[in-house]
């Protein structure tokens, strides 16, 4: 019984290992002290960027392959030339690095209230993934099932998380910024606990961005004279930042999953090569 239970646990862990890893990575990063976090910025950034990159690069190649398969003759060498090489990798690397930075900074600034939301959406993501896999298994070529599930997962999971994050942000108490000038609001409410390093600067920048968004929303609502432009700007900033964060989280999770698959493929290939 116990053996079976532990086997089951191992199975669950094996299947959901990436999600658990990602969740603990994010939690650890959020809990680190400012000094430790500043020194660990480089490895954390690299890991997060690489995970995001793996997922998005896989999706991009899948997309490209489908497109090429649509038009190119199957014997054409263009398949190899156009399948996506350094340029695509660089583009996705850049995107992943920026997203990872946003993710890391946002995680450092995240109030604890957000964590249940994050964990809830990660669980939902896992459930949706299982559901999708079960649905797609009968219809999709085996080789592509996992990749396609991941590809289809990004949008619903990202949208859900973004929605939850926006709602939480609106529900949370905000600093009272009505009637303050923008500069004053930013200076008064930006904390200096983050330290003087690069990460501290990023955190302050993130705080300033958040404050700007609150400031724009509050002052546009209160001062009718200030106009709709400010309100639109505030909402735009709120939606953009929260959905970018949600996108990054989902991409990170999906990327971890993709990396696990890749490593599994590699192990299989080695095993096949070995005998």
């Amino acid at each position: 019984m116990a053996k079976r239970l532990s086997a089951r646990w191992r199975q669950v862990l094996g299947r959901h290992g990436p999600v658990i890893c990602v969740a603990s990575f994010m939690g650890l990063w959020a809990l680190l002290g400012p000094g430790v976090a500043a020194t660990l910025l480089l490895p954390a950034w690299v890991i997060a960027a690489q995970l995001i990159f793996v997922g998005s690069f896989e999706a991009a190649r899948l997309r490209r392959r489908a497109w090429l398969g649509q038009y190119l003759d199957s014997a054409s060498p263009w398949h190899r030339w156009l399948r996506g090489g350094l340029l695509m990798a660089l583009w996705h690397q850049g995107l992943a690095i920026l997203l990872a930075l946003l993710l890391l900074v946002k995680l450092r600034l995240l109030p604890p209230v957000y964590w249940p939301v994050l964990l809830l959406s990660l669980v939902t993501l896992v459930l949706v993934q299982q559901l999708l896999r079960r649905q797609l298994q009968r219809h999709v070529i085996d080789e592509y099932v996992a990749a396609l599930v991941r590809r289809l997962l990004v949008w619903p999971a990202g949208t859900l998380l973004a929605l939850l994050l926006v709602l939480t942000a609106l529900w949370l108490p905000q600093p009272y910024l009505v009637g303050l000038g923008w500069e004053e609001a930013v200076i008064r409410h930006t904390s200096t606990t983050a330290g003087g390093g690069l990460l501290g600067a990023f955190e302050r920048f993130g705080q300033a961005l958040e404050l700007t968004q609150y400031w724009a929303m509050q002052n546009a609502l209160e001062r009718h004279g200030l106009g709709q432009g400010l309100a639109v700007f505030g909402w735009f900033l709120l939606l953009l930042s929260q959905s970018a964060f949600a996108w990054a989280v989902v991409r990170l999770t999906v990327g971890a999953d993709a990396l696990r698959d890749t490593l599994g493929h590699l192990r299989n290939a080695e095993r096949k090569d070995a005998p």
Binding site: L41, L42, W45, V46, A49, Q50, F53, V54, F57, E58, R61, R65, R83, A89, L90, Q93, G94, A96, I97, E143, A147, L198, A201, T262, H265, L266, N268, A269, K272
Partner: protein
């Protein structure tokens, strides 16, 4: 294996390396940019000369120093009081000790046969208060040499105040120096920085107010002189003499009046009885009065003596109390003068800093005492 795993099998390590490279490059570039930005947007630097050392401080640190300086100079009064109080107490003790020691001697005289008769005579004949004042002055104050002692105390107080002040101000300077020397900013072009000479302001505060200090001490001295001179005697008389011997005298007066009335009355009755007999009647009246007075001198002296010996302890206590009160007043006057002076010093320090910052053209938001 699969065609998709084929490229991926080769790439992961390369991609990890690429990510690392890109992130490193980005971090270096951003770090450099951030440092540049920080330097450019950094608050202007100031050179603050304090305790003989020129400290290079950025705007925030300068403002912090300013705050600390104003807190410290706000406590100047307190510090000075702490420093001056034990000294002043000790000096007042030594100054008033001979006076207190002279009290029993005075009382001996006061209740001596001669003193009592003299007092009685004066009480009968003239202004007792004035005479008592003169006696107290001569026998108590002049003999104990309190005036000279107080004068000396007053002069010493001024000197001591200036000395302590200098030390406290020097301590402020060294405190600020030790606290802010490690918080200096690095500057490339030191000579172009606006220089605020706090030493100059602190010194100027003392030197500019030297005359004022003398004036302040003189003001206090006026009070001291007043307390040590006639005012004190008057108070001693008003206090002790009133409570002690004067109360006695007041008690004596009705008796005197009664005796006088009786004697005069006797005289008058004799006069009336012998009215028709002319000059003889006047003679008889006068004789009767004289007899009555002589009777008084005998009985009243014994009464007086008894009552006075009863009052001696009280008088002693009251004299001492009055001296304590006078002492407290002298002390208060000196302290008030010191406090006045300290306040004017603070004002002049603020003015000095203001002038120094004005001269250095420090922008208003970085000024030590705010925009005034």
């Amino acid at each position: 294996m699969t065609s998709m795993a084929e490229p991926l099998r080769r790439v992961p390590a390369a991609y990890w390396g690429l990510t690392l490279l890109l992130v490193l490059t980005l971090m270096l570039a951003l770090g450099y940019g951030y440092r540049q930005l920080q330097e450019r947007s950094e608050a202007p630097l100031f050179r603050v000369v304090v305790n003989g050392e020129a400290l290079i401080l950025d705007g925030e640190t300068h403002a912090a120093l300013g705050q600390e300086l104003s807190v410290l100079s706000g406590q100047l009064d307190l510090h000075l009081r702490d420093e001056m109080q034990p000294w002043l107490d000790a000096r007042l003790d030594t100054a008033f000790a001979p006076l207190e020691a002279a009290i029993p001697e005075y009382l001996d005289w006061h209740f001596s046969l001669r003193g009592s008769y003299l007092r009685l005579a004066v009480a009968l004949g003239g202004d007792l208060d004035e005479w008592l004042e003169a006696q107290l002055n001569e026998r108590l104050l002049e003999r104990s040499n309190i005036a000279a002692a107080l004068e000396e105390l007053e002069a010493d107080f001024g000197a001591r105040l200036i000395e302590v002040q200098q030390r406290v101000v020097g301590e402020i300077g060294s405190t600020l120096q030790t606290r802010y020397a490690p918080r200096q900013a690095a500057a490339r072009n030191e000579d172009e920085l606006p220089t605020i000479d706090l030493d100059l302001a602190l010194e100027g505060m003392l030197q500019g107010r030297w005359d004022e200090a003398r004036w302040g001490a003189a003001g206090a001295g006026g009070v001291v002189g007043f307390a040590a001179g006639r005012a004190l005697t008057q108070r001693l008389v008003a206090g002790t003499a009133m409570q002690g011997s004067r109360a006695l005298m007041a008690r004596i007066a009705p008796r005197l009046g009664m005796h006088a009335a009786r004697s005069v009355g006797t005289g008058a009755a004799t006069t009336a009885a012998t009215a028709p007999s002319g000059p003889m009647a006047l003679l008889a009246g006068t004789a009767a009065t004289a007899v009555a007075l002589a009777g008084f001198a005998g009985t009243e002296y014994a009464l007086l003596k008894a009552e006075e010996s009863r009052y001696r302890d009280d008088m002693h206590a009251e004299l001492e109390l009055e001296l304590t009160r006078a002492r407290a007043e002298v002390r208060q006057a000196l302290e008030a003068a010191a406090s006045d002076w300290t306040q004017s010093l603070e004002r002049s320090l603020q003015q000095g800093i203001h002038d120094a910052e004005e001269a250095a053209q420090v922008p208003t938001q970085y000024r030590i005492l705010g925009s005034r």
